[in-house]
Symmetry: C2
Subunit: 118 residues, 2 copies
């Protein structure tokens, strides 16, 4: 990850609302969440949600796909991996490069839902 990308990604996460959105997406996994659901959970206007979630999208931290009328956003774990890697390699001293964090969800949502109801 380049220096500029890192700054962009850090700025994207450096806001309470956006960090909350991103954590929500991480917890949800690849299945993602629609803009409406996120806005409702956070209790913010739709236009405000768009502003923040697109910030994450532009920074490369969230993917976007359309599902009929809804736009689904999901965390981009590869990008997050890149950011954490950048921080450990460039901002944690030379002795830390041995550590390779694995940024990805433990299991798809469908499996977790099944597990929860079991």
């Amino acid at each position: 990850m380049k220096n500029d990308q890192a700054v962009t990604a850090l700025a994207a996460l450096a806001h309470p609302t956006r960090l909350a959105i991103f954590r929500m997406l991480v917890e949800r996994g690849p299945e993602g969440l629609s803009a409406g659901v996120i806005a409702e959970r956070l209790g913010i206007p739709a236009s405000s949600l768009t502003f923040h979630v697109q910030h994450l999208h532009r920074a490369g931290l969230a993917t976007q796909r359309r599902l009929s009328r809804q736009l689904i956003y999901a965390a981009d774990f590869q990008a997050m991996n890149g950011l954490v890697g950048f921080l450990t390699e460039n901002c944690c001293g030379r002795g830390a490069t041995v550590c390779v964090p694995a940024c990805q969800p433990a299991a798809p949502v469908s499996a977790r839902v099944r597990k929860r109801s079991a």
Copy 2:
């Protein structure tokens, strides 16, 4: 690390100049660098440097100590460790908590200088 602290730390690093300062401090290690040296290396006015380095200090990412007329700033590796830990634990999914990055310099500056000249 609390959510608010993480946002503060992320915001502190989310600026080209401050990220450059922090990387400089990380590379330097516990010995730190004086405000004047940092400003000179970056080619920015002293008042601008103060603005940014204090931002890092307030965010807990840099320590400050006085050495006669100079103020020495150094990276706070423990804080950085906390931030990386927060990101891996809260923003990288549940499967990533096994990784514990060790954020600290490989060796004190004095040793490295000796090594370099050898």
